[in-house]
């Protein structure tokens, strides 16, 4: 199982190691981190909450879809939970495949699919309050 939802710090090297092999000619990684501002407001921290078993099930579905589109691709999707200050890494995706174009495309596909369907939420904490992202309020 190369997918993970955890309160522990993420390791890009660990994710890469889970997918890379001598049958791969390419490895592409995505690293997402906490930015210190949003829509002109300072952000003190993000708080991530996950429905862990379902998030892992969605990560597996994402990998299955990616393998169907780009045969030979392997994905490792690691997401962190809890309160993270700016600069901390919140998500790591490693994609490895025989050829580079598939690795690039599968990596992009995985982060966009995660953002759309993985049951993970974040609350932005500001100096003077907080709000859940995505509620459109």
């Amino acid at each position: 199982m190369s997918h993970r939802v955890s309160a522990m710090a993420l390791s890009l090297e660990a994710a890469q190691a889970e997918v890379f092999g001598n049958d791969c000619g390419a490895s592409v990684d995505f690293v997402g981190s906490v930015r210190d501002n949003t829509r002109g407001k300072p952000v003190v921290a993000l708080e991530y909450e996950a429905y862990e078993p379902m998030a892992l099930a969605i990560f597996c579905e994402i990998e299955t879809s990616a393998k169907a589109r780009w045969p030979g691709v392997r994905l490792a999707i690691h997401h962190r939970t809890g309160r993270l200050p700016p600069g901390e890494v919140s998500v790591v995706i490693a994609a490895a495949s025989p050829h580079r174009s598939d690795a690039f495309e599968a990596c992009r596909f995985a982060i966009e699919a995660l953002k759309k369907d993985a049951p993970i939420w974040k609350r932005e904490l500001y100096p003077d309050g907080s709000s859940w992202v995505g509620l459109g309020s």
Partner: protein
Amino acid sequence: MVPAMQVTLLFFAAARERAGTSKETLELPEGATASQAKARALELHPALAPLGPQLRVAVDQAFAEGDAPLREGSEVALIPPVSGGCS
């Protein structure tokens, strides 16, 4: 009278805060559906109303259609708009 069954209802993020709980047991008539469970949750927790149209329903850890049937012991989760990853 239709026999009853019990399902577990899970609340996350904004829905958890508005409901004031992360988990509860819900009694529903046998054969009830995912959308009936959601409707019952909204009745029991009026503070969820503003989120109602945005809540997706998952049954046993997979997104479910509204007419998906529930079973005794099903795990039903109300899923507010997700925002994982990074900005």
